[in-house]
Symmetry: C2
Subunit: 373 residues, 2 copies
């Protein structure tokens, strides 16, 4: 454990605070990891939803960014970022018109996992000033979410989409979210390598059959250091690494001292000797579970006897172990808590407070908050 974090009496709680020094170290480390492996880094901006932080990532060596939804892409293009992977199929007439306008402004790389969506997207592409767009095919390397299986199902889909006028199939992408189910670091590493390998092999089949796959792009923070080492991978797309969170710690990808974002909360009630209530609940942390499976909602820093056991919308219910030092919390006391999953926590806030040397030096607006369309 590092030094206790500052309590910022000048800030109202709950507040999401960012240790900018830790954040910058996280950006540098992932950039170095990618550079040393000879792959590109295209961070997923969904973790921070902030153009200012996206620009920091690019300055630290990222080749571009990833976003999930059109609304996020629009925010980032507006902020002058143009090398963007839009990692989501665009479905529906209103969205296709927005895609058309987006392509007028930036040569966004698209992503798709079905011929139906690809054909509709191609019409928007051809109507745009650009008339063509690069496309990644989304592949299911084990998460069982989007994408067809690696190998022939994906090969046949990619070949079919490559024939659609306006779409240029240039890459394969995947998200190895399923590595989080691993019970040991070895199992996680092996699962991550196998998933990336399946993507590389599918790209090789496609190249042999004449589809020019230039980009092989797996993406996941806990899997990143393993994916980057798989020969044939050309870029990685971690998101969470910018802040890290408790689930990242528990997936052996960082330590508690690498968690840049914490929720600063205040004790508002001490109704029982073994219970304290803080002013941050699921409206601050989200209800996302811990990968530990212990039902808790965050890592309370500097207080080993304190567990964030339950959340309601505006209340965090702390269970105190009186045998541990520091468990005797007072009303008004402040705590730093690392959320289980930082991305949805950021999405619940309008602003993040960046600090350096114990002082808040920057308010970072979460410009792409709530852009789920």
């Amino acid at each position: 454990m590092g030094v206790p974090r500052p309590l910022f009496e000048e800030l109202e709680t709950p507040a999401l605070v960012i240790d900018l020094g830790i954040m910058e170290r996280n950006l540098q480390r992932m950039a170095a990891l990618a550079r040393q492996a000879g792959v590109g880094l295209r961070p997923h901006a969904k973790t921070h939803k902030s153009p200012w932080i996206a620009h920091q990532q690019l300055r630290a060596g990222a080749i571009g960014i990833t976003v999930a939804k059109l609304g996020e892409a629009e925010v980032m293009v507006e902020a002058g970022i143009t090398d963007i992977l839009l990692a989501y199929p665009i479905v529906g007439e209103q969205k296709l018109r927005r895609l058309e306008r987006l392509l007028d402004d930036a040569d966004v790389i698209l992503s798709v996992d079905s011929a139906e969506a690809a054909e509709a997207m191609a019409q928007a592409v051809r109507r745009s000033g650009r008339r063509r767009a690069r496309v990644f095919i989304d592949v299911d390397t084990g998460l069982r979410r989007m994408g067809l299986a690696p190998g022939m199902p994906t090969v046949e889909l990619a070949e079919r989409i490559a024939r659609v006028p306006g779409l240029e199939v240039v890459g394969l992408m995947s998200h190895a979210g399923h590595v989080s189910a691993a019970r040991t670091p070895e199992e996680l590493a092996e699962t991550a390598r196998r998933a990336a390998q399946a993507l590389v092999e599918t790209a090789e089949i496609l190249r042999r059959r004449g589809v020019r796959i230039e980009h092989v792009s797996p993406g996941s923070t806990p899997a990143a250091r393993f994916e980057a080492q798989v020969p044939g991978v050309t870029e990685i797309r971690p998101g969470t690494y910018v802040f890290n969170d408790r689930n990242t710690v528990d997936r052996w990808a960082c330590t508690e001292d690498d968690c840049a974002l914490t929720v600063l909360a205040t004790v508002v009630s001490r109704p029982a000797p073994d219970r304290a209530i803080i002013d941050a609940g699921s409206k601050v942390f989200s209800s996302d579970p811990s990968v530990r499976g212990d039902g808790t909602f965050g890592l309370v820093l500097d207080r080993p006897g304190v567990r964030l056991q339950r959340l309601s919308e505006e209340h965090g219910i702390l269970v105190l172990d009186p045998a541990e030092a520091g468990a005797d919390l007072q009303v008004g006391e402040r705590l730093h808590i690392v959320p289980n999953h930082v991305c949805p926590a950021v999405n619940l806030s309008d602003v993040l407070y960046g600090y350096r040397d114990g002082r808040v030096v920057r308010e970072i607006p979460v410009v792409a908050r709530g852009k789920y369309k």
Copy 2:
């Protein structure tokens, strides 16, 4: 099941849509329930976070509203609503200054469960133009969140707070959220009645000892109809009833046809015969679990063979039962889904779309969204 809900091709998805007819019926029914029981109705505005809907509730017969945080109270006062219970202790210097200004504008009823918080709040009250404020004591009738136990622990706290200059203890409040753990309707009814009874008995002890408790206020949608019938209860504070949700249906408090709010979502991928992906994930629904304990995230209307089995931030993963009619979803198809818990879903959106007779007639801004301070 009622008639299929309209698909609103003019709306982009995901969208939170409100059947205004169902909402108005919900408001009328709860107002009638309170009126017939001879109790006041003070709905919790956290469910809708919208001044327009709060005004509808008042027009339908509510005596005032409840809010959780100062920021919500500020929004409602700004919208001309003045009879407000602020059901949360105010802790911290910045918040106490905001409380002082709020009291200048409205005779807000405060709530507290500790002498420490009460004494700090009293200072802000005495600094305000009003110089005194009414206070409800928050009592733990079984939820094990805020509040001391009913009976002597609460009595002694209330007497102590009643002696603090500036604070006038006028009521007892509780939230019977623990009734949701009931496994049968009978168990729920019995738990709700017992909790309200404990509040009433504590009020009687306090009155005998000279503390003028005018208000006895339990609050919870599934418990409301039982609480209202307990002699001595003077008001009820349900929140969810305005829209209802899947957990309310599963707690026997309404039917599927009483769910006014649904998430309108579009199928964006059909990667496997038993799987479809929609464009709404935890950034739309929240990750709040089902009280069924089956791990699903919402009730898909009009599609018996379709379950919302998993969520990631931007994806809802539907599991399809091919034996059921209507499970063969197409990319581009739209679905209505009732969220498990409607309150956090509303908090993730900037606007709700109200419809009537199949047409969207009103955009309802979620003005108090994200007001967790």
